[in-house]
Subunit: 224 residues, 2 copies
DNA sequence: GGTATAACTTGATCTGCGTCAAGTTGGCGG
DNA sequence: CCGCCAACTTGACGCAGATCAAGTTATACC
């Protein structure tokens, strides 16, 4: 059962997906898996980074905080996402904190084992390069948006993207407003106000705590 | 001479540095090198990304712009830095623009050749992973700083870092104020004012257009 | 070495959004 | 089904920093 969990986890992850069955079984043996409940930490800023974390089920958020104590949400991990690439280069400390948003299961591989894997499995190294490449592109886009776009723009854009990712115009926000605020680099109050004004403008409809219906995607796209 | 340039270029680059002489000579044969003058583009957003760019001499800036037309400076490339990792994964378009800041020479390798290199040289793949890992960490830090720190903080921090990187308290800014403003996510006017106020507070001394002397590093570090 | 021009400075004004504070609501545990 | 509490909303206010405008240097080029 445990073993089975581990193999599931390995099969789920894009960076392992193109590998042979034999490779996957071998990797599964190196994997340790654990279950966390919402609010638990996968790892925290400043601690030794010596394992790679792979999410099997559930969601987690990755944050970073400044001396001033404010926190920025960098990305949300879903099933198949991984983090902890501090492991990949010079052994060092985590520069971010990962917190479970839901009950979740996560698989980990030690730095040592993962580096050995990379050496023996060239295809894996390419897969990881691809994944990191995408991370860089996504982060660059986020940095740019943060710096040059207004909160309205960022929020409107987020709604359109999320609707697109989910595939329909009516959906539940995957994040609490507080987390969404951290993600967009603003405050819950401002999120509230902007959503209210979008609704007043007939661009969206809100109901319940988290439910949003996008009525006018084009209108949202041209929010200043 | 041309060949010599190429080999220089390959030797300069950290991702190639741990490789054997034989490998380096082989790689140098795949490299194409060119010279650009300040203001020229290495590549532009939206064009096909099919080469890896490695800076041999000079400096370049990497920027990204939004629909609204505003531009964000993501990073400055110096000798040995590389970019264009769009090449590394699914063939796609550049999501950023790179512009020469000075006269510079750059070496490029085609996607095809680079992927072949990666397959045949496992050590190279690891080096590239390390470099990308560092890029991710740096970008995460930049995103966080952008979102939660004031302009004063970001500017003060930039001055301290730059002084540290150069190794002395008195140095020339490597960037025009306009570019520095784009990098820090603000405007040239604000940079001017903040520098003036740092000088008034006795934290720095300015002379000429670009010259800065850091007088009180600790004082800068605790700018709000 | 003078002068044209981009780079920068300084000032005045305006505004988005953060902050603090005081409600209000939804949903879950008992 | 009720009451409690975190999550959210709404309002009032202030300020960092953007913007617009009008000088004031530097530096590069003839």
């Amino acid at each position: 059962m445990h073993q089975h969990e581990a193999e599931d986890c390995v099969r789920l992850v894009p960076i392992f997906q193109t590998l042979s069955d034999a490779d996957i079984t071998a990797i599964a043996k190196l994997v340790r898996d654990q279950t966390l409940k919402a609010g638990d930490f996968l790892f925290t800023e400043g601690t030794l980074a010596d394992r790679l974390y792979i999410l099997a089920h559930g969601q987690a958020k990755v944050t970073q905080s400044t001396a001033a104590g404010r926190e920025q949400l960098l990305r949300v991990l879903g099933p198949g996402d991984f983090d902890g690439e501090g492991v990949l280069f010079t052994k060092g400390e985590h520069t971010t904190t990962a917190t479970a948003l839901t009950k979740l299961s996560v698989c980990t591989i030690s730095q040592h084992d993962f580096q050995a894997l990379l050496k023996n499995t060239p295809a894996l190294a390419l897969n990881v390069l691809n994944a990191l490449g995408r991370r860089v592109v996504a982060l660059e886009a986020k940095t740019t948006a943060q710096a040059v776009a207004s909160v309205s723009e960022r929020l409107a854009n987020y709604l359109v993207e999320t609707a697109g990712a989910i595939g329909k115009a009516s959906f539940d926000l995957p994040l609490k407003k507080k987390d969404l605020a951290q993600y967009l680099g603003t405050t819950p109050e401002t999120i509230s106000r902007k959503l209210a004004s979008f609704e007043a403008a007939g661009l969206i409809r809100q109901s319940g705590r988290q439910h949003i219906e996008v009525l006018d995607e084009d209108g949202l796209a041209l929010q200043d």
